[in-house]
């Protein structure tokens, strides 16, 4: 078990190195010259020249890469060209926002998706099943930006219950923070709840047919115990994997949703950075999210092993 984890940890190093090279190179493929974008409207040649020198844009790629990765190893992610702030400051500002939103969205996803999946599997081919399926299909196929704007019109403009956009830290004012993030979290969670529901349903159906469930029923257990204690536990394995991956995706920022609700998270940061060719920010944020994603994956695997004794040998 420990050797397995240690081996996986060592494997992380080349993966992250590879990722860093890829981030750097892919970004160079973007058309457009960052110095031109940064030079303001006037585009004075002397200003452009200064920008190129300051951010090493006039040097060969390998030199630029080494300068960047050297900084990263010393804990310096570089400086945003657009905002003249260290990238680490920006990340420190955005990460808690994105994490909070991701957690709340996951609560919605799992809170809606799993119970709905169970109901639809247990009540297969009844009106319940059809209703749940239709709602799930609606959830999957509704675009986030549309749902977001509709929610804003209903809850903010018409009813005036919730702030239309913006963000408040939960450490500043917990309830204001919940009020500001509940709509975006619902929008994000809703879109994935349908997927979770479909997987829970499929896995449950399969498990419900299996011998041990029939045995459990034959023992005379009531159906609640059979479903929640025996069937669901086994059915949840694929759902956990999916959930962990989705959580990783959420942590890399939800571009459209953040845009609609003006949530200052990773998604907005990276989109603005790409459009402004703010290389240091793009590199820094992608590197951090990629690393987080890889680590989450590792944790999911470890969780698997812990949950499933058969994998431990």
């Amino acid at each position: 078990m420990f050797t397995l984890i240690a081996r996986r940890l060592i494997q992380l190093i080349p993966t992250i190195f590879f990722v860093s090279v890829m981030i750097f190179l892919l970004q160079q493929l973007l058309p457009g010259d960052p110095a031109l974008v940064m030079a303001g409207e006037e585009k004075d040649p002397a200003v452009i020249e200064q920008i190129r020198q300051r951010y090493r844009l006039d040097q060969p790629l390998p030199v630029q890469y080494l300068a960047w990765i050297g900084g990263v190893l010393r804990g310096d992610l570089g400086e945003s060209m657009r905002l003249a702030e260290p990238v680490s400051t920006l990340v420190a500002q955005k990460l808690p926002v994105t994490v909070q939103l991701a957690i709340m969205a996951m609560i919605f996803t799992l809170g809606i998706g799993i119970p709905a999946g169970i109901i639809s599997a247990v009540k297969k081919d009844t009106a319940w099943d059809y209703v749940v399926n239709v709602v799930a299909l609606w959830g999957i196929s509704t675009p986030n930006f549309w749902l977001g704007i509709m929610l804003i019109f209903l809850f903010s403009v018409q009813l005036g219950w919730l702030p239309a956009s913006g963000y408040v830290s939960p450490f500043e004012d917990f309830w204001a923070s919940m009020a500001a993030t509940i709509m975006p979290a619902f929008v994000l969670g809703n879109s994935f709840a349908g997927v979770i529901m479909r997987h829970t349903r499929a896995a449950m159906l399969q498990v419900m047919e299996s011998d041990y469930v029939r045995t459990a029923r034959a023992k005379g257990l009531d159906s609640r115990t059979v479903i929640l204690k025996h069937a669901l536990r086994n059915a949840l394995t694929p759902v956990i994997t999916l959930g962990a991956l989705e959580f990783g995706t959420l942590l890399s920022g939800a571009v459209l949703t953040e845009q609609i609700f003006s949530i200052p998270g990773f998604g907005k940061l990276i989109v603005d950075a790409v459009f402004n060719r703010d290389y240091a920010v793009v590199q820094g944020v992608v590197l951090i999210t990629a690393t987080t994603y890889i680590v989450l994956n590792l944790l999911a695997d470890i969780g698997y092993i812990l949950a499933n004794p058969r994998l431990r040998s």
Binding site: G32, I152, G160, L269
Partner: protein
């Protein structure tokens, strides 16, 4: 079914919480302004975006300002005097002005700030005021600027970021990081900024014109989506928004809770034509100036305005809008004349449709304009091939001449020089068309040396004769600048630059 119970509980909690968070209308000491973008660095020397200037308007006062007729009026300065040869400008300063850190805003500080704009690494102000050779302190309230050559747009530059004065002490201490916590002499002092979320400023108790400042705090919130920005205003989460969509104007008019100020942009929307930037240009619009004239005549500017902007934009054909004192009435906005356009094409020797690689930035409004133009110019023998290109990429394509026509917006400057020089003078940075004419250059340079409006207008008249016939930009319209605010906010005055002046604003009943 414990999961279901949990879910129900969560939903109930959500309901309770929504009821507990009503939009408060009672507190009126905070003005919340919705911005269309997140500003860049808040250092007057390094700032380069329009949206940044909106925030600077509350933090950093300038030597001069503009009034609603575009006249230059004193702000931190009291008066100015230009010598007869145009080579020295003497500026008298307002006495008793303090920076937010309590330091005096005197001649030394002005010299420091101007020198900083001119010499600081990464300063975007250098090209704007590079005509200044040296800045001298005459006495504590007088500075003398010596110019390398006469440069009449200088004062107009000092009404914008180049005229913003920073506290020398704070700037020396902060160095490169000054933009994280700017210290100027404006009505509000910087408090806090969370990137892409908010910028907070607070009333400066020692402001020189403090009696006109009643609102305690201002929060700037960047909300990129125009629909959401307006929704925030309607729901009372914001008190004022900038750059509302022209298409939302009818809806705003009917809302009794909102007030709207519609101005005309100082800049313009035009199409830059590649004339001599590359072979692609020489093969199309560069062949014969009559092709350029035909292109312009094929466009129905009024119809374009009706179709895309519900008539809220202002059709135009020059680098300044028709309300500007420098508009040349000898060249009124032309009517569409397809027959004449066809004749010109014939005369220029164009047989069959002329295919044009038309680069259009990826923005829904501009794309719609491009499609309308495609239909209009087709009747005169043009075949516009629209190529939608992301903005940063389009800049590079334009720079390298990989286009034949380019839809380009200019945000505009107070002085007509800022709307014309860099676009039409030979080899200037914004001259993407590659146009170069000795006659036009001579006039552009001459206009910089004259100080009287009448003299300059006469020079620009001759210039417009040349440029409207053969220059590299076909001007289309001037965008409406729509600022919307709640009826509770009073004292708002729209100025031609579209920036929000916060001095004089107050909430009803306060």
């Amino acid at each position: 079914m414990t999961k279901l119970k949990l879910l129900t509980a969560a939903l109930l909690a959500a309901g309770a919480l929504t009821a507990a968070a009503p939009a408060s209308h009672a507190q009126q000491s905070v003005l919340r302004i919705g911005l269309a973008e997140d500003p860049d660095v808040l250092d007057p020397s390094r700032g380069r975006t329009y949206v940044g200037r909106i925030v600077f308007a509350s933090i950093c006062d300038k030597l001069f300002d503009i009034d609603d007729k575009l006249n230059i009026v004193p702000q931190l300065a009291l008066s100015h005097e230009t010598s007869a040869d145009g080579l020295t400008v003497t500026i008298k300063l307002r006495p008793g002005v303090k920076f937010h850190d309590g330091e005096p805003m005197d001649a030394e500080a002005v010299k420091f700030s101007l020198d900083r704009h001119l010499t600081m690494q990464g300063s975007f102000r250098r090209p704007e005021i590079s005509a200044i050779d040296k800045v001298e302190v005459v006495d504590p309230l007088t500075v003398k600027l010596t110019l390398k050559q006469p440069f009449s747009p200088l004062l107009a530059q000092l009404t914008d970021r180049a005229g913003m004065m920073v506290s020398p002490k704070a700037a020396r201490e902060a160095g490169e990081r000054f933009g994280s916590a700017p210290v100027c002499a404006g009505p509000y002092r910087f408090v806090e900024r969370v990137q892409q979320d908010r910028i907070i400023v607070e009333r400066f108790a020692d402001y020189w014109d403090k009696d006109k400042v009643t609102i305690q705090r201002i929060e700037y919130r960047p909300i990129t989506d125009a629909t959401v920005r307006l929704a925030n205003l309607r729901s009372g989460q914001l008190d004022l928004i900038e750059r509302a969509l022209a298409t939302d104007i009818p809806q705003i008019r009917t809302n009794a809770q909102l007030r709207m100020a519609v101005g005309v942009d100082l800049g313009y929307q035009g199409i830059t034509l590649n004339i001599a930037k590359s072979d692609a240009g020489r093969q199309a619009f560069g062949r014969d100036p009559r092709i350029i004239q035909a292109f312009s005549l094929a466009i129905d500017r009024q119809a374009l305005n009706q179709v895309v902007f519900n008539g809220s934009a202002m059709p135009g054909n020059q680098w300044v809008n028709p309300e500007n004192p420098y508009f040349q009435s000898r060249h009124p906005v032309p009517q569409r004349d397809v027959a004449k356009a066809r004749q010109l094409m014939q005369a220029a020797g164009v047989r069959g449709p002329l295919a044009i690689d038309f680069m259009v930035p990826n923005n829904p409004e501009v794309r719609q304009v491009a499609e309308v133009l495609q239909a209009m110019t087709a009747e005169a023998g043009f075949d516009l091939k629209i190529r939608v290109t992301e903005f940063a990429t389009s800049l590079q394509e334009a720079e390298q001449g990989r286009y034949q026509a380019y839809m380009l917006n200019w945000s505009g400057r107070t002085d007509p020089d800022g709307n014309s020089y860099s676009f039409h003078a030979c080899n200037q940075p914004l001259n993407y068309s590659g146009y170069c004419s000795q006659a036009a250059d001579a006039l552009l340079n001459e206009a910089r040396t004259k100080t009287s409006q009448a003299e300059r207008k006469a020079i620009y008249e001759k210039l417009s004769d040349i440029l409207l016939a053969e220059g590299g930009i076909v001007y289309l319209y001037h965008r409406p600048v729509v600022i919307v605010h709640s009826v509770r906010l009073e004292g708002f005055k729209a100025l031609p630059d579209g920036l929000v002046r916060v001095v004089g604003l107050r909430f009803r009943g306060n």
